[in-house]
């Protein structure tokens, strides 16, 4: 059985900082957040999505209709995250994590999947899709590859 290899790619042309970064997880057809974004990257929709990523990176609190976690959902979904564009009904789903052991405050959003939906109600099917990828060993490996643990100083 072939081994699934995934990779993180920083969302291009977004103002990532040392504190916060947004990335696509790529390497499987179900991981369609990146590929769907690519299709609209140069359109007003793509610019609005990038703008919302910039807002999150700049520590704007969760904002209805723009992006948010799922604080009121079951504990299992608390790390899930979504960027929203109401105009085009587009959602980019993913999860947040703190992959840098040397700097636990550093936060990364890993975008996994995309959906087109009009309703505001949380769709657990989409969140379960995110969780499946979040827990996948290939995802963990991709994050570790992008943020390797600091090598221990010699002699310790």
């Amino acid at each position: 059985m072939p081994i699934l290899k995934l990779a993180l790619e920083l969302v291009p042309l977004v103002g990532h900082t040392e504190r916060r970064v947004v990335a696509f997880l790529r390497g499987h057809t179900d991981l369609d957040a990146g590929s769907e974004f690519d299709k609209v990257a140069d359109t007003p929709l793509g610019k609005r999505l990038r703008y919302k990523m910039d807002l999150w990176i700049a520590f704007k609190p969760d904002t209805k209709g723009k992006f948010h976690r799922f604080k009121n959902a079951a504990t299992a979904y608390r790390e899930c995250f979504v960027f929203i564009d109401i105009e085009e009904k587009m959602r980019l789903y993913g999860f947040t994590c703190h992959p840098d052991k040397a700097d636990p405050s550093f936060e990364l959003i890993v975008l996994t999947t995309h959906a087109i939906k009009k309703e505001n109600e949380t769709d657990l099917t989409e969140l379960n899709r995110v969780l499946t990828w979040m827990k996948h060993p290939a995802t963990m490996k991709a994050i570790q590859d992008a943020y390797p643990a600091e090598p221990k100083p010699e002699g310790k």
Binding site: L13, V14, K47, Y51, L55, K60, T63, E87
Partner: protein, 173 residues
């Protein structure tokens, strides 16, 4: 290219518009005013308001921005700034950052409340240093008002007296 607003001035202008309408949307969210009432004030439909907030115009007229803000009891400033990023590699600073900074230091209406000195009389380095130290900002506001009897240069000196914990202000000779 490192940031999407680097491509051209149109993209930079679009990001300003997105930031502006984000501020209005936040205000509307916190306000008791309904979208319907806001729309009525502007003479448009509630649907049009939703459309504008969800998909802001890419290059709105300045006068339109003022209309949208005034209908929410807000004002508009156009601010030019130097963030040490001349090539715009990092993208713009959000208008919310400027607004939050201004609110945090007590919404000053003049420069003396911010710098503690009348800018044209103060050397550049003195107006810039300690810009955000609370005592530097608050002290001039807390000083009791006195009818100026001395030349204006003396008033500048009052504002520059360092705050050491005691109340009142030091006399000037």
């Amino acid at each position: 290219m490192k940031h999407w607003t680097q491509a051209n001035t149109a993209d930079f202008a679009y990001s300003i518009s997105l930031g502006f309408f984000t501020q209005l949307e936040d205000r509307l969210e916190q306000s008791p005013m309904k979208r319907r009432d806001y729309a009525e004030k502007l003479g448009v439909t509630a649907g049009r308001i939703s459309q504008i907030l969800n998909n802001p115009p890419d290059n709105p007229q300045l006068e339109s921005l003022v209309q949208y803000a005034r209908a929410l009891g807000m004002k508009v400033a156009v601010v030019a700034y130097d963030d040490g990023d001349p090539e715009n590699d990092k993208g713009p600073i959000f208008s919310e950052v400027f607004n939050a900074s201004w609110e945090r230091i007590g919404k000053p209406r003049d420069l003396i409340s911010v710098t503690g000195a009348i800018t044209p009389h103060a050397p550049y380095h003195e107006t810039q240093q300690d810009f955000y130290r609370p005592e530097t900002i608050v002290a001039p506001i807390q000083l009791p008002y006195m009818e100026p009897k001395a030349p204006i240069e003396c008033i500048v000196a009052v504002a520059q007296v360092p705050i050491t914990g005691q109340t009142g202000y030091a006399p000037i000779n």
